[in-house]
């Protein structure tokens, strides 16, 4: 994952509420086995409309997206985060995010910044013609007009973002603790592992016996 400490520049002043992941990336784009190339499908239905913010030359190449409440609701598809990353988005600023989306965003080096609605309203105005800065060192969103909006971020997520850490690798290092937990389950809740009853499932055409 690409490390990120600060992103500054043009932002899409969108402000749309309840943006679902079907809007971020429609389902027909999900028939891929890679993470790359989804930017071209990002916001497809929005971009089909004339005068949309994503095709406005004033905001071309923006790395920040300003949205409304409940951004990323709906499907768990990480393709939404991949699509945003592929179109160059590094930070999304909104009053709230769906839980699943914000997790997916962080795992792909996208900062999900939560700010109150009045701050969003202000940023939507400023971003019309001025750059916005999101800084993970100072934990603030700032504008050239001296606006300064502090935000909060889970400490671990912040560290992962700033150092570009591999979370799977970090957890694998806790193998002893995981094995110890598994031994406890085998003793107290043995049915969790069970007798592998699903070996009885009929499996056809998969090449397995």
């Amino acid at each position: 994952m690409q490390a990120v400490t600060r992103v500054s520049g043009t932002a899409y002043p969108w402000g749309q509420k309840n943006v679902d992941t079907d809007v971020i990336i429609p389902a027909h784009w999900l028939k891929t086995v890679t993470r790359e190339g989804l930017g071209k499908g990002a916001f497809e239905t929005v971009r089909a409309q004339a005068g949309n913010v994503f095709d406005d030359p004033r905001y071309a190449g923006a790395q920040i997206l300003i949205a409304g409440d409940n951004f990323g609701c709906g499907s768990s598809r990480e393709h939404a985060a991949w699509a945003l990353a592929d179109m160059g988005i590094i930070a999304v600023i909104a009053p709230s995010f769906s839980d699943i989306f914000s997790g997916n965003a962080f795992k792909n080096g996208i900062v999900a910044v939560v700010l109150p609605q009045d701050a969003i309203d202000r940023l939507l105005v400023v971003a019309q013609d001025q750059p916005i800065t999101v800084d993970l060192e100072t934990m603030t969103v700032t504008t050239p007009y001296q606006d300064r909006f502090p935000f909060e971020l889970d400490a671990f997520r912040r560290q992962c973002l700033m150092e570009g850490l591999d979370e799977v690798g970090l957890t694998l290092a806790r193998d002893t603790q995981i094995s110890k937990y598994e031994a406890g389950v085998a003793e107290h809740r043995p049915w969790i592992s069970g007798e592998r009853a699903h070996a009885g499932i009929v499996v056809e055409g998969s090449g397995r016996t």
Binding site: G15, K17, N18, D20, D22, V23, A27, H28, L30, K31, T32, V33, T34, E44, T45, G68, D69, N70, C73, G74, S75, S76, R77, E78, S96, F97, S98, D99, I100, G103, N104, K107, D154, F156, E167, V168, T171, L172, R174, Q177, I178, Y181, V185, R189, W191, I192, S193, G194, E195, R196, A197, H198, G200, I201, V202, V203, E204, G205, S206, G207
Partner: protein, 484 residues
């Protein structure tokens, strides 16, 4: 030491903490992992790229559902038919290869047990009370119906669970959603869940784990509870729990992957300790009296846009919140609806009965009770997609397929189908669909498609009348044992 009363969620959480970190987040053990073809290929690629194995293939089960066409899978001679779309075929092949390479149990597309992950998990007894269960699909919340802490995850988390059998999580807040009263005739669990989402809003449950309580929930079958828990995510909550009880145990006993013998007895003894303690405190409590609710359906492009079938299309100007007003204007333009129109005056072109929300046997029985002896209205395409091969087989044993076929419905093979339009089942642009699925988002059922979320009985009623109609006007005398 006397401990404070705990909620169901807190008990399951406490029993799955591998390690607590200084910042309060916990490494949580995952007991069950369901895998499907769409959100897993990149996770397996990640494992390969780093030379990592799947830690617990025995706790993992894979089945294709999202992409699979729902047309016949074998020709007249019984030979498997190829999948026409090369991208879908590649994704399905990838699941087969990945599960074989990593030693994961896999239910093949042609197996009688194949179906939608969230139908298959409970049906096979893979889903158990008190377990943590994840899947790369947001409707994993469904499994909460059996008292499992179940939630949807992204592909990076799928990779994390495959490699470590854990997730790093912060504890959620808890919300009790208490539904009391008595359901009127013709009112189904789908109407209850739509009423709840209409009440709390699409983001109302964000950051919370829901627990559904109250007499209405207690009286529901597991099928009905699955419908309610399934839609938790449409209210913003990753999980929606229902305490395990005698209904749960009776449903699970004897299922292929459920424990047996002494293990079953030990499991039940443990499951009986799980319900929230008297006096347990939730961060928020929402109550709903379901006694007077009419059949519910959506008018807009968010699942929170709920109205009774007896109501009218709302006027966006009636919303106080300017953002909501603006969204409602856009929704109505997309939906091609005019404020003040009676919901029952809206004609439909498509009817879809299926999805992980409403494709189980009771759903099909409810739809069949309405379809029986009637005809699908001229010009309406009506599709029935059973949730699994076993549901399909059961329905056929009960003669439901003959009722549907005689009425002019299509009777398909199991899969996610027209719920998300990844496979060839799509609603054409500008056309209107009464759908038993879970999302009415812009373009969800196909580009430009207009979706109204309804119960199975309401969907069948729309099919036979050609419009959104009140199912209570069609079915006045409940057939013995039918849940309409």
């Amino acid at each position: 030491m006397a401990s404070r009363p705990l909620t169901l969620y807190e008990k399951i959480w406490a029993d799955h903490v591998v390690e607590r970190r200084d910042d309060g987040t916990c490494l949580i053990y995952i007991d069950r992992h369901l895998v499907h073809e769409v959100t897993s290929p990149q996770a397996f690629s990640g494992l390969r790229a780093n030379g990592r194995a799947v830690r617990r293939p025995d706790l993992t089960l894979a089945v294709p559902d999202h992409n699979l066409p729902t047309t016949a899978r074998r020709d007249a001679a019984g030979a498997p038919l190829p999948i026409a779309d090369p991208e879908s075929a590649a994704q399905l092949d990838a699941l087969q290869t990945n599960t074989r390479d990593f030693g994961i149990d896999y239910i093949d597309a042609l197996a009688p047990e194949q179906g939608i992950v969230h139908v298959v998990g409970p049906e096979q007894g893979f889903t158990l009370p008190g377990t943590t269960l994840v899947c790369g699909d947001s409707h994993t919340s469904a499994h909460g119906a059996l008292g499992a802490l179940a939630f949807g995850i992204g592909t990076s988390e799928v990779e994390h669970v495959l490699a470590t059998q854990t997730l790093l999580l912060g504890q959620s807040k808890t919300m009790e959603v208490r539904v009391d009263g008595a359901l009127g005739f013709g009112i189904s669990p789908k109407d209850v869940t739509l009423a709840i989402i209409g009440k709390i809003g699409a983001a109302g449950g964000t950051g919370y784990v829901l627990e559904y309580t109250g007499s209405i929930i207690r009286e529901m079958s597991i099928e009905g509870r699955l419908t309610v828990s399934n839609m938790s995510i449409e209210g913003g909550a990753r999980s929606g729990l229902i305490a395990p009880d005698a209904t749960t145990f009776a449903y699970l006993k004897g299922r292929p992957m459920a424990p047996r013998g002494a293990a079953w007895d030990a499991a039940v003894a443990y499951w009986q300790t799980l319900p929230s303690d008297p006096g347990a405190v939730y961060d928020r409590v929402v109550t709903l009296d379901a006694t007077d609710i009419a059949p519910q359906l959506t008018w807009g492009t968010s699942p929170e846009d709920v109205v009774a079938i007896t109501g009218v299309v709302p006027d966006p100007e009636s919303f106080a919140d300017p953002a909501k007003r603006d969204a409602a204007h856009k929704s109505l333009a997309y939906m091609g609806l005019t404020p003040g129109t009676a919901m029952q005056d809206i004609g439909v072109d498509y009817v879809f009965i299926g999805s992980c929300t409403n494709s189980r046997i009771e759903d099909l029985r409810a739809a069949a009770a309405v379809a029986n002896g009637r005809r699908v209205s001229d010009g309406v395409h009506a599709l029935i997609v059973p949730g699994s091969g076993l549901v399909k087989r059961q329905a056929e044993a009960e003669g439901l397929d003959r009722i549907f076929l005689a009425a002019g419905f299509e009777w398909r093979e199991p899969g996610c189908s027209m719920c998300l339009a990844m496979n060839p089942d799509k609603v054409p642009p500008g056309l209107r669909c009464a759908s038993t699925s879970n999302r009415n988002f812009v373009g969800r059922q196909g580009p430009g498609a207009r979706t109204h979320l309804v119960s199975p009985a309401m969907a069948a009623a729309a099919a036979v009348t050609g419009r959104l109609c009140d199912v209570r006007d069609l079915v006045t005398h409940p057939a013995e044992g039918d849940r309409v």
